[in-house]
């Protein structure tokens, strides 16, 4: 399906959840779809989200510690953010929600889901962090220069070039530093995973879509994609190519098609 979504500007609103003033971007009508951004931060409304907002009420918060949201005192580890997401869903009274997370956000979504899937109809994990396969080398994202990071994130050279050409104004630099702090807080050690998560993934009883970029240079699709799929009771795995760590950007149409058919399939069952 071609992407014919008009460029819709989302509504920006702040909600205070568990003492954390949180920026939430919202747009669209339909069943709720909650999107949790990755370590680079949120706050951007990209075309692929706009397309999903044609059929869903898309809700995209900036997670605690990131962007324009607060960094509350309790913001110390991934479990804090997982419980926050459950509190946020309760505060916004989301029911039957599709929850989708990318990278760090995928890890948060999985941590939230092992605690409760009560308000979730389905889960989509896009190149999620959170698990560790022993003996598989991963690059050290905290030692990468901005240029190395751009090259590692994207497979498409045009996206690399666009990332490198980006000029940060003062406010953007402040946000980038804040996001980097938040990412380190959650991911530094153990490096981007929770050694206990694997034991409890069987609790995620809702249908789950696992999406990976075949050329992901940050978290390699082989073996991570199959590893996740093997641990989730109701997993569907889609590896999209060519794509780096963000298939929702690099293969936006294929990604949206996969997600929409996953949602259609899991709700008609």
């Amino acid at each position: 399906m071609p992407d014919t979504a008009p460029a819709v500007t989302p509504r920006e609103e702040f909600v205070t959840v568990t003492g954390c003033r949180t920026l939430v971007l919202r747009s669209g009508e339909g069943p709720p779809l909650l999107f949790l951004h990755g370590a680079g931060g949120g706050g951007a409304w990209q075309p692929w989200i706009a397309r999903l907002a044609r059929r869903h009420a898309v809700i995209a918060p900036e997670l605690p510690g990131f962007g324009r949201s607060d960094t509350p005192e309790w913001f110390e580890n991934i479990h804090d953010v997982a419980y926050f997401v459950l509190d946020l869903m309760e505060a916004l009274d989301l029911r039957g929600a599709q929850v989708m997370g990318h990278s760090l956000g995928g890890w948060v979504a999985a941590e939230a889901a092992v605690r409760s899937v009560e308000r979730m109809a389905g889960l989509t994990l896009i190149g999620p962090a959170g698990l560790h396969v022993r003996g598989v080398p991963k690059p050290d994202i905290f030692l990468m220069t901005p240029e190395e990071m751009a090259r590692a994130r994207f497979h498409d050279p045009d996206l690399v070039a666009a990332a490198l050409a980006e000029v940060q104004d003062d406010a953007a630099l402040d946000r980038a530093l804040k996001n980097r702090f938040a990412a380190a807080r959650l991911m530094w050690a153990p490096r981007g995973f929770d050694p206990h998560l694997e034991k409890w993934l069987h609790r995620i009883t809702v249908p789950t879509l696992v999406v990976w970029g075949a050329q992901d240079a940050i978290l390699p699709a082989e073996p991570y994609a199959a590893h996740w799929a093997s641990l989730l009771p109701r997993a569907t795995l889609r590896v999209l190519a060519p794509s780096g760590h963000s298939p929702q950007l690099e293969q936006a149409d294929a990604f949206c098609d996969a997600l929409e058919s996953f949602i259609a399939g899991s709700t008609s069952r």
Binding site: F142, D174, L177, R180, F181, A184, W188, A189, R191
Partner: protein
């Protein structure tokens, strides 16, 4: 002026061309570059140099802590202090500058090690506490966003272990001990002197100058302008708390090379101080400044001024000009140190008389001329009672 000899113990045999393949001599430089046979010789040589300085009348010697790098081969400074404790001239002090508290797993074991050294030396140790530089957080996989919190709590725990009668319970945020009960107790009472080496952050100066601590603040690796500013900040901070900071609360850690004449000094020092600055200190910003290591405001400022440590090639002449290196005949060095003391108001000089690839013979000559021709001339030198604020502002 009081003089200490400080050694970094770099891996001086490092292949200088390593930087064609690797970004830094820290964290990820393959340890295939290290030859244990050469390293063993270096360790013995460096310990000889420290012992020689102690014999020539320095008030003490200094060692420090860095991990997984070619810049400084002392991941365990208390081991070095232990090796020196029974070999050195009996009056000389040993400064451990310092233990990197947040990156070490158990602060109570640091309290113990220091207490042992304090007993064996009968109170000749000076206990340094640092957070470690950013690279340490990469090397030891400790979360840099907890650096300040862990530093303060580990410090408080160690001081309590030294001064409060045990056993007692420690209920901290990061550390929990049902039984804190130090054996041996510290020899010096109430506890060993604490020195705080720092690159000059506001938070650290406030911490050291607090009237409950009054720790010696030691400015490291900074241009003279920064030195004058941080020394003044410490005095201002003391003033805000209603006390006057003594010059003995302020120190300067500085690389120095002294020789027969200015020309000889510059010719002999140049390749070695430049190897220090450009090879051993080489570090990309991501390694030096992990997220959370400093406040976002300081981080931004440091990112903008990063040339001082990680930028382009630095020459000896630039370093002399900046005041990060003092070099020349005894008269030149005496005059320069005296002038800096007048403007900075410090009374402690932590002299880095070895740097980079400086060979043993030149290091020994440097130590000897410094001890015989520089130190006596400045032994009684004191900063003015009132350091002119104009000097500090320059």
């Amino acid at each position: 002026m009081r003089f200490f000899f400080f050694h970094l113990m770099p891996y001086a045999d490092l292949d200088p061309d390593y930087d064609r393949l690797h970004k830094s001599s820290w964290v990820t430089l393959p340890n295939a570059y290290y030859d244990p046979v050469k390293g063993a010789d270096l360790y013995h040589r460096y310990l000889d140099e420290l012992e020689y300085a102690a014999a020539l009348g320095f008030e003490g010697v200094g060692v420090n802590e860095h991990h997984q790098n070619a810049y400084g081969l002392m991941p365990c400074p208390n081991v070095f202090a232990g090796m020196l404790a029974r070999r050195m001239a009996p009056e000389a002090k040993i400064c451990i500058l310092g233990r990197a508290l947040p990156v070490l797993a158990n602060p109570l074991s640091i309290a113990e090690e220091y207490a042992v050294l304090d007993n064996v030396t009968r109170g000749r140790i000076i206990a340094g506490f640092v957070r470690g530089i950013g690279a340490e957080y990469h090397s030891l996989a400790v979360n840099p966003t907890e650096s300040h919190g862990r530093f303060h709590e580990a410090h408080d725990l160690i001081l309590a272990a030294w001064t409060r009668p045990g056993p007692f319970t420690w209920d901290g945020k990061y550390y929990h001990f049902p039984h804190v009960n130090l054996w041996p107790r510290a020899y010096q009472q109430p506890h060993p002197p604490v020195w705080i080496p720092s690159q000059g952050s506001r938070e650290t100066i406030e911490f050291a100058a607090d009237p409950s601590r009054r720790y010696v603040y030691l400015q490291t690796a900074a241009p003279a302008a920064t030195l004058f500013r941080t020394m003044q900040s410490y005095r201002d901070e003391a003033g805000r708390h209603g006390y006057r900071a003594s010059p003995d609360q302020l120190g300067w850690s500085i690389k120095i090379y002294v020789a027969e004449t200015d020309a000889i000094a510059r010719a002999e020092a140049k390749p070695h101080i430049e190897s220090f600055a450009n090879k051993f200190l080489r570090m990309p910003q991501e390694m030096l400044l992990p997220p959370g290591y400093t406040s976002p405001a300081s981080m931004k400022a440091l990112m903008l001024s990063r040339r001082t440590i990680t930028g382009s090639h630095r020459t000896m002449e630039q370093m002399i000009e900046q005041g990060t290196f003092v070099c020349g005949a005894p008269r030149t060095v005496i005059d320069q140190l005296a002038e800096y003391q007048q403007r900075g108001g410090f009374n402690i000089v932590m002299a880095g008389l070895h740097f980079g690839t400086l060979p043993h013979a030149l290091t020994m000559k440097n130590i000897e001329i410094f001890a015989k021709d520089v130190m006596p001339a400045l032994r009684d030198a004191l900063p003015p009672t009132e350091v002119a604020r104009g000097a500090a502002a320059e």
